[in-house]
């Protein structure tokens, strides 16, 4: 359960930062794939998981620069550029995987679990909470950090204001473009981190299209979480927990057709989304490019 929580959580947190500033990132899947591949490749050639992690984060960030330029500076439709970058992510990583590593799923290893000593031996809880690698705990730390940033820092206030009323932000003397650029880049970096987790935190290798839609699930979790880090964490835990539950229900042989079990995480998330969603929660200017002359 925890291995699925982290990539969803971190990617969704990054997207929350970006959407609060008013910019959609449908290309999250592409950023995550970049993070997964370049994280793997960085670890392979750098002979270090840490090198791979940094390379993966930077790779996601670099791809997000393209989105930022297209959507903020050129004011191209954010949905279109996002979808394009998703496809670029799939194509480029597949191409590079076949070209640079001959398509082989070489094992670069994974980050080891943090040693909590006796705490790891606590029945059931020990396995879930105290037998994870540091990236998993980093995800939870990021929730706290972002919650603090959103509420207590100048950037957090400007980030939200840019998404709701960029004209006011502009009139106050702040650069809407810079705030949006920074927000999109944070999203790219965090999605790169989420992707790197898949290749370096769990599987120790890269496989083509290994994100398999997790970027889009994270996109939905942002809406579910109403752009609040704590609620995003809850959404990620619900989805990942439901996914782990259906796997265990299969393993114990619950006499229910498999398609219904496989549906559990998606149906549960939809139910919670529908019942918890209220109108008027999204940033007012989400998806709208800003221009001073038109503001």
């Amino acid at each position: 359960m925890v291995s699925l929580t982290f990539p969803l959580l971190v990617a969704a947190l990054g997207e929350a930062v970006s959407e609060r500033a008013g910019v959609y990132n449908l290309g999250m899947e592409g950023y995550m794939l970049f993070g997964a591949y370049f994280g793997f490749y960085g670890a392979l050639v750098g002979h270090s998981l840490w090198v791979g992690l940094i390379v993966g984060v930077v790779a996601g960030l670099i791809l997000s620069v393209v989105h930022a330029y297209c959507s903020i500076t050129l004011r191209i439709n954010q949905i279109i550029t996002g979808v394009a970058l998703w496809l670029v992510g799939i194509g480029v990583t597949s191409f590079l995987h076949r070209s640079l590593t001959s398509g082989e799923s070489k094992d670069v290893g994974t980050f080891t679990d943090v040693n909590f000593g006796a705490l790891a031996k606590i029945p059931w809880l020990g396995d879930i909470i105290f037998q994870q690698n540091f990236l998993t705990y980093l995800g939870f730390v990021l929730v706290v950090v972002l919650a603090f940033v959103f509420k207590r820092t100048k950037f957090g206030v400007l980030n939200a204001a840019t998404g709701d009323n960029p004209v006011a932000v502009d009139l106050a003397g702040h650069s809407v473009s810079r705030i949006r650029y920074a927000s999109v880049l944070v999203c790219g970096a965090m999605c790169g981190l989420a992707g790197s987790y898949l290749s370096l935190g769990v599987l120790g290798t890269f496989s083509e299209n290994m994100t398999s839609g997790k970027g889009f699930i994270a996109f939905c979790l942002v809406i579910f979480g109403k752009w609040d880090p704590k609620r995003v964490l809850l959404g990620a835990l619900i989805f990942a927990g439901a996914d782990a539950l259906q796997a265990r229900l299969q393993a114990v042989g619950l006499p229910v057709a498999f398609p219904f079990l496989l549906m559990i995480p998606y149906v549960l998330t939809l139910i919670v989304l529908v019942t918890a969603m209220r109108k008027g929660e999204a940033p007012t200017m989400l998806g709208e490019p800003y221009s001073r002359s038109e503001g």
Binding site: N209, R248, A251
Partner: protein, 386 residues
């Protein structure tokens, strides 16, 4: 003006990048022929006069390798998944590479990783391009019917179809049928003897597909034949690509007690193997010899004879022997090494001896392993083992 030129530059860059990605997603290699080519006969695995049975009980034999001229044949091989999946699609890619090497003058292309919606267009384009022989895996089944009807001059070869499947398809579609039941039964025998927890598991990409169901059913039956008390766990990822789902599903099976696990999950199988290595359980690989992926854990892999089938298709076509019908193959044919298991490793000598004994029974016909393809039967078998 600066913004407009920047826009043009950016659009051009994006197009270049997407083009690179498109090239990476689908690979096609063409080699043209300018002269007649006589096929070499110095191979021990080349299709020869096989024991084949066409639909309606008529026998059809392939022509001897040495006399077939493949020059002028334009062929395509397509697979649904990525050729780097380490199992199913990679075995088809390997078949393409082997064929290309053996017949260097053959005009042959290969395409992988094709989205479902693009498959009809792909095959139609290949046929319009003059490809007279197209080999594609069974995942292309929904796409074949309209395309084959529109291109009656092109032969479409799709393995693992049944007579019922063929009945609804045009006359220019044929199949080579091979059951996974026999090799998976043997793998199950090994699993039943090797399990210490009396629990074995099968992780599938989907249920409802006859070949996957028959593989898992036979695996469980084989385990039960040597270990009547063995319990079964069936896990379905719902996805042939998501490696993490394969990993999570396998962890769940291991937590439920399984210590020998087979998979038929293609790319998601990498997650199965990763989980198996992490938890140090025994594994049965799919389609290719997956021992290099987990040298301490893989006990065997069951074979998918695509290399044999693509060459057989080529020779049948080039010799004019191609006809609509189900040509069946099994271990009891003269080439059991192509339709069985890769060598057993990480198992006891007793297990090896037992598997060999039962293998001979299958080859002799003493033991008949019928494929059971219904999901309900598979689920019932699993429930009864609890």
């Amino acid at each position: 003006m600066l913004r407009k030129s920047g826009l043009v530059y950016l659009v051009l860059m994006c197009l270049i990048v997407v083009a690179i990605g498109a090239i990476g997603c689908g690979e096609a290699t063409e080699e043209t022929t300018t002269s007649e080519t006589t096929v070499s006969s110095d191979t021990t695995t080349a299709p020869d006069s096989s024991d084949t049975t066409a639909a309606g009980g008529e026998e059809s034999t392939t022509t001897s390798v040495a006399s077939v001229d493949v020059s002028g044949v334009k062929m395509a091989i397509n697979t649904y998944g990525t050729k780097t999946d380490g199992s199913w699609s990679e075995s088809i890619s390997d078949a393409y590479e082997a064929l290309k090497e053996k017949y260097p003058d053959l005009d042959l292309i290969f395409t992988d990783n094709v989205p479902e919606n693009d498959r009809p267009q792909l095959m139609a384009t290949q046929a319009s391009d003059g490809r007279s022989l197209i080999y594609c895996d069974s995942v292309y089944f929904p796409a074949i019917q309209p395309v084959a009807a529109d291109h009656p001059d092109t032969w479409y070869v799709m393995p693992e179809l049944t007579e019922d499947d063929l009945a609804v398809l045009p006359d220019n579609v044929t199949t080579y049928f091979f059951s996974y039941a026999e090799p998976c039964y043997l793998a199950g025998v090994a699993a039943g003897l090797e399990t210490k927890t009396n629990t074995v598991a099968a992780i599938l990409g989907l249920t409802g597909l006859p070949d996957l169901n028959s593989a898992a059913y036979a695996f469980f039956e084989g385990a039960k034949s040597v270990n009547p008390n063995v319990k079964f766990i069936l896990g379905v990822t719902g996805d042939f690509i998501d490696v993490q789902k394969g990993y999570d599903q396998t962890i769940a099976a291991i937590d439920a007690g399984a210590d020998v696990i087979m998979h038929f999950a293609d790319n998601a199988g990498k997650g199965v193997i990763k989980a198996g290595v992490e938890k140090n359980v025994k594994l049965v690989g799919e389609a290719k010899d997956q021992l290099p992926l987990a040298p301490q854990n893989i006990i065997t892999s069951y074979q998918c004879p695509h290399a044999y089938f693509v060459e057989l298709a080529l020779l049948d076509f080039a010799s004019g022997n191609m006809s609509k019908g189900v040509k069946s193959f099994s271990m009891s044919d003269e080439i059991p090494e192509l339709f069985g298991l890769y060598p057993l490793t990480n198992v006891s000598e007793e297990t090896k001896a037992k598997v060999e004994e039962i293998k001979q029974q299958i080859i002799d016909g003493t033991l008949v392993v019928e494929p059971v393809t219904e999901t309900a039967d598979l689920e019932k078998l699993v429930q009864e083992s609890k």
